[in-house]
Symmetry: C2
DNA sequence: TTACATGCAAATGGTTTGCAAACAT
DNA sequence: ATGTTTGCAAACCATTTGCATGTAA
């Protein structure tokens, strides 16, 4: 974890209040669920905070994404969510679906030559293959 | 285009027959629709071959993906489809949704250090930002 | 000739919306 | 006190499935 859970919550609560949103127990519960495990599906998150209504989980994830606290991932199957703490990329096993992260960004800025006039704001890299268990 | 449309169709028909599938007029129509424009949504494809039933378009795209002729893209919004002719990546404008391609792969293989034992088979890179029109 | 493909209608499943009640500040 | 948030039920929409009919090889 890049920051402690306590620090994460403080920062997130600050961002919510700063945006005119309230820091409710449901939102905190979703936040804690997200802190326990990266790239979970919505159902996995829901298992970790079963008292929060389905709709509220959806809306909370939308809100946290807007605030830049959460990233929504689309890695082949359905949507997955992770705390947007640090810059990293994903490695997906095509056999078992296992997802892992790598922190070293393999992009060579010198070779990133976007279309004339395009302003780069962010990027993502996904590596597909076979994990050690599935080879 | 990396190959002519005629060549594309010959190759695709060959792959279909080789896989025990039939080269039907509907499948050819979808293939031609795909050749007219990269990364279309299903609805856009459907407009280009309105006589092919919705379900058949879905099933044809599945088949062509299996055969490696088509790539299914998930670039934020819904699914989009493109002919998998060459290796390239995508640049997406966060303002207007415009998608463009760049052929030079910005990955530095030396910096691609996957988890121990992971066998890399493919990768994708997406660059998000603002296109020239939206700046 | 025959297994494969098509297309309609219906089912499905994930996500969003309307609205009344509950709540944070 | 007030505007925000919650949660249920219902609506929604893209995608998939069942099945009878049609067709490429």
């Amino acid at each position: 974890m890049a920051v402690s859970r306590r620090e994460l919550e403080l920062v997130a609560v600050g961002k919510m209040r700063g945006g005119g949103y309230k820091a409710t127990p449901q939102r905190t519960a979703v936040l804690r669920a997200l802190a326990e495990q990266q790239h979970q599906s919505l159902e996995e998150i829901r298992v970790r905070c079963p008292d929060v209504g389905l709709v509220t989980v959806y809306r909370t994830l939308d809100l946290l994404s807007e605030l830049g606290i959460v990233r929504r991932l689309h890695l082949g199957d359905g949507a997955r969510y992770e705390l947007a703490e640090d810059h990293h990329h994903h490695m997906i096993c095509e056999s078992c679906g296992y997802i892992s992260e790598f922190d070293q960004c393999p992009l060579d800025p010198g070779r990133l030559t976007p279309e004339e006039g395009f302003e780069v704001r962010s990027h993502s890299v996904e590596v597909y293959g076979r994990c050690a268990c599935c080879r």
